[in-house]
């Protein structure tokens, strides 16, 4: 049976504010899942806490809504125990780059074949709009009592340094482009990061839909806005490493692009490198039949409930008499 985008929507009522970027992200997710025809039972999404976290509840795939900042560890545990699962982790900027930033960096060292989507709106929406790690220094969004005293972190640069092998950015209101990013992320062999720029209509009154669209910057010649967002692929940029010796050059190019913000914000694929061994590849070197006989598939007892793991050889090593 061919699954349509609508089949990937659960019965859970998506309780986001009207105009929330999450609706666009949800649509893009459903479309990506449908285009890839991912079997629902074999697909699992793990989300953190915050408005973005409810994505796990809204999709009609296995949806595991975990703890604040911990989507990655859960997702990694599940993927490694059962590598047949298609695993997606998802959460907000506060979730992944604030409380969960340790996991964000450490995940890069492992290059596990999962996809991590971060909703970036610059604020902690569900707790009423405090500054998130991606809000720029000095900005004072609507509910901040004082301008932001912290500088923003650059998630793309960090991901690059940490070892992510697919790094892309999308925009919540460009659903088709975002869907492509998600698809490519899922298809990527290795750890994929997709940052989604997303206006928060309730609490971020600075980085709004109008701001991204450049409505404050009317071109005097055409009388039209000059959007801040532009697509990397339309500029001839190619972030894909086609042979291992291109790695450094592509990383430097991605880093340069990662620094762009404000007047010009690139979306698209910054970097992709499938030459790095994934964590699964590394496990196979140690446990040759890991993929055929992963932890979740191993029988551990017979029909009578007797243990089938033979530890006799290990006990023999500890034997001292008899």
């Amino acid at each position: 049976m061919v699954l349509k985008a609508a089949d990937y929507k659960s019965t859970y009522f998506a309780d986001w504010c009207p105009g929330c970027g999450n609706f666009g992200i949800l649509s893009a997710m459903q479309m990506a899942l449908a285009e890839l025809q991912l079997p629902r039972h074999k697909t699992a999404i793990f989300t953190g806490i915050g408005c973005s976290g409810k994505m796990a509840q809204c999709l009609n795939i296995n949806g595991i809504h975990v703890l604040h900042g911990r989507a990655l560890p859960y997702a990694i545990g599940a993927k490694l125990a059962n590598p047949e699962l298609e695993v997606i982790a998802e959460g907000g900027d506060g979730d992944g780059l604030g409380i969960g930033v340790g996991h964000f960096v450490s995940a890069g060292r492992r290059n596990i074949d999962i996809t991590y989507i971060i909703h970036d709106n610059g604020v902690y929406g569900l707790t009423k709009g405090q500054a998130s790690p991606t809000l720029e220094l000095g900005l004072q969004t609507k509910s901040l009592p004082k301008p932001n005293i912290n500088a923003a972190i650059n998630a793309i640069a960090i991901a690059l340094a940490a070892g992510y092998t697919f790094i892309a950015r999308g925009y919540a209101y460009d659903v088709r482009h975002l869907k492509e990013m998600i698809k490519r992320g899922i298809q990527h062999r290795g750890l994929a990061l997709i940052i989604v720029q997303q206006p928060c209509p309730t609490y971020n009154n600075i980085n709004t839909k109008e701001w991204y669209g450049g409505e404050d910057r009317i071109d005097p010649k055409t009388g039209k806005p000059t959007p801040r967002l532009y697509k990397l692929e339309e500029t001839g940029y190619d972030g894909v490493v086609h042979s291992p010796d291109e790695t450094f050059e592509k990383q430097m190019a991605a880093l340069t692009k990662a620094r762009e913000w404000g007047d010009k914000i690139p979306i698209g694929v910054f970097y992709q490198n499938e030459f790095e061994p994934t964590y699964q590849d590394r496990i196979v070197k140690r446990i040759p039949n890991y993929l055929q006989n992963p932890p979740a598939k191993q029988p551990i007892s017979d029909l009578q409930g007797r243990a089938t793991t033979n530890i006799t050889a290990l006990l023999e090593k500890l034997k001292v008499t008899g």
Binding site: T11, I64, I287, Q298, T308, L315
Partner: protein, 637 residues
């Protein structure tokens, strides 16, 4: 006992001694004490040897092998009358006050001890002479450099400095010569410890032989204690607590373990990783356990929970500071009814506390950690063998009742080693609870948290065909969708908590307590965890003196077998608790759930295990009506 600076081979030397005794058919119990330090600070390894099985350590030392001056100073008063001290002849002139690794408070206490004993001692030699006079202790000063020179000649090694690492084996040779033990089991033990490294094995055997011969010809049968091999047909193993837990996990079907390095838990994970490929009965394909070293303990528990969602038996292993970080994850697993096992090795705490020392102060923490309420099972092993069987049971309980299980162990169990009769693998049963397959739900909507009479909802692993489900750390409905409705909340929490009542009804009392002694005895001791062995030995001695007591070892504080305890303790005259903490935590739990208070508290929190002598002395005082209500133990160095 052998002692010396960390990194000087105390561990390997004493291990050879212990194994050699095991190979000779003797029973062995070994205890390791060490500082949170890589090299230089004092450590020691105490080995008890007997023809009978040994349950615990004792205070007295019959033979002290000192690798350095500090070891003599720290342990001299533990040496029993007529006992011996092996010491490096070159350290005799060491001034006690100049030993840098002795702390100032130790030195001050030591001076007081000297004054009380009327001893004047400036150097090690003065001290040894005093001990000799006071306690008839034999001192064997060994010129290690001379013996090493003999070794060097034999193996054609020009640089003596390359051989100083073998002081431990020289000490071993002297020790075993003094007790006139056989050479054969020692050679075998050296081979086991140094493995396949042939040259090293040969060097050490030469070193052993030279020192053994030196001591035999110099001291002959001067030392009063002798060790004889007792050939036995019984199949025995010699292992430490962390290995027992790891083996239990493997045979129990654990296939995923995540951990962050921490003392003393990490040894378990390393053992698992070393043995990650598993032989499977009736299957040519090997199995395997995936061991993940994570970035922190938060990741460790949450990865284990993520893995457990796929149906695999998953665990993490840690000690107090790590468990503190895991608490939020534990609550999530409780709320989402995920079977995850935490093997929790207690140590001296809180904070970093005494990172390499013993403690038993985390019972309440294990029982109550997390905000909110959810069911969990806590079980406590009392010895190394129980560590093995409990490691299996922990998974059975976790899967059967779909809740986190905390397996409490402690440093004394983790780092002590003991000889046992070969474990009985036929006893082991795997119970997976209500685990669904795709055929079970074909055509109907799967409700992960379906309301049922027992509170148990059939569980499906992630990836099961025909099944999609939701989980949330938020309160959720039967489908697993976030739901804040008041009635749903009332029912859902009740559903989860009902599983604990079910566990309480179903798990037989024999799995939750061990009872020792005569049912009719008027007085009862209660304890949990590693003091078990010390209490059993002390009980034997006290019974031998005509006192009547029995002993209940609590193995499952949650759910506590309260009716059983109420019945047994309700009729006891003197109720005595023995545990390794300040607050008498088990006593508190029992009082809370049965209304019965203890009459006597025997407590210890100095970072050292409770010895059988200490328990015996405390019990004796109680029986002689001379004891205060609360006795604080403080032995062990």
């Amino acid at each position: 006992m052998a002692g010396g600076p960390q990194g000087s081979g105390v561990d390997s030397g004493t291990n050879i001694f212990a194994r050699a005794c095991c190979y000779g058919g003797l029973h062995v119990y070994g205890k390791r004490e060490y500082h949170s330090n890589i090299k230089g600070l004092h450590s020691y390894f105490q080995v008890r040897v007997s023809p009978k099985e040994i349950q615990a350590d004792v205070d007295r030392v019959d033979l002290l092998a000192a690798f350095d001056a500090e070891t003599v100073v720290r342990h001299i008063w533990e040496v029993s009358p007529g006992g011996g001290i092996i010491v490096d002849a070159e350290t005799l002139e060491t001034k006690i006050d100049e030993i840098k690794t002795l702390t100032s408070n130790f030195k001050a206490d030591f001076q007081k001890t000297l004054e009380n004993r009327g001893v004047k001692a400036e150097t090690l030699d003065d001290l040894l002479k005093a001990a000799k006079k006071e306690n008839n202790i034999k001192v064997y000063a060994i010129p290690y450099t001379d013996v090493l020179r003999e070794v060097a000649e034999e193996i054609h090694e020009e640089k003596l400095s390359r051989l100083t690492r073998m002081i431990n084996v020289l000490t071993l040779g002297v020790s075993l010569a003094l007790v006139n033990y056989d050479r054969e089991p020692v050679e075998r033990a050296i081979k086991t410890i140094f493995g396949e490294k042939n040259k090293i094995v040969q060097m050490n055997i030469v070193a052993f032989d030279k020192s053994y011969q030196y001591a035999r010809r110099t001291f002959g049968d001067d030392f009063g204690y002798k060790l004889k091999t007792i050939p036995t047909e019984e199949k025995r193993i010699f292992l430490q607590g962390t290995q027992a837990v790891a083996l239990g996990k493997l045979v129990g079907g654990c296939r995923f373990q995540s951990y962050y390095p921490i003392t003393p838990a990490a040894d378990e994970s390393e053992y698992l990783e070393e043995n990650e490929i598993l032989e499977i009965i009736g299957d040519k394909n090997p199995g395997s356990i995936l061991v993940m070293q994570t970035e922190d303990e938060i990741a460790a528990i949450n990865m284990a929970i993520g893995a457990a969602l796929t149906g695999v038996r998953a665990a993490t292993s840690t000690s107090g500071p790590g468990f503190s970080l895991m608490v939020e994850g534990l609550g999530w697993a409780g709320n989402n009814e995920v079977p995850v096992v935490v093997n929790y090795y207690q140590r001296g705490a809180p904070s970093t506390g005494l990172p390499t020392r013993h403690g038993q102060a985390d019972l309440r923490f294990a029982m109550h950690a997390s905000h909110g309420e959810f069911p969990r099972i806590v079980l406590c092993s009392g010895d190394i063998q129980e560590c093995f069987y409990d490691a299996v049971r922990a998974f059975n309980y976790a899967e059967r009742y779909q809740m986190p299980v905390i397996h409490l162990i402690d440093k004394a169990l983790a780092n002590s080693s003991k000889s046992y009769k070969m474990f009985d693998l036929n006893q082991i049963r795997i119970e997976r609870g209500q685990l669904l397959s795709d055929k079970d739900v074909e055509g109907e909507e799967y409700l992960r948290f379906r309301f049922t009479e027992s509170g148990l909802s059939p569980r499906a692993p992630l990836g099961t065909p025909n099944i999609v489900f939701w989980n949330s750390g938020d309160e959720h409905d039967q489908l697993g969708h976030i739901n804040e409705e008041s009635t749903n909340r009332t029912l859902m929490l009740e559903k989860r908590m009902k599983k604990l009542d079910l566990a309480d009804r179903e798990i037989p009392v024999e799995e939750r307590v061990n009872f020792f002694g005569d049912e009719e005895a008027p007085h009862t001791i209660v304890s949990w965890g590693s003091p078990k062995g010390a209490v059993i030995e002390a009980l034997e001695r006290i019974l031998g003196e005509g006192y009547e007591m029995n002993f209940i070892q609590v193995r499952m504080p949650l759910p506590l077998p309260k009716d059983y305890l109420a019945e047994k303790l309700g009729k006891a005259e003197k109720k005595i608790v023995v545990e390794g903490n300040y607050m008498a935590q088990l006593a508190g739990v029992i009082r809370e759930q049965t209304g019965i208070d203890m009459d006597y508290f025997v407590l210890k929190w100095n970072g050292r295990p409770i010895s059988s002598d200490e328990v015996y002395d405390a019990l004796k005082l109680i029986m002689e009506e001379k004891a205060p209500r609360r006795q604080v133990l403080n032995r062990g160095s």
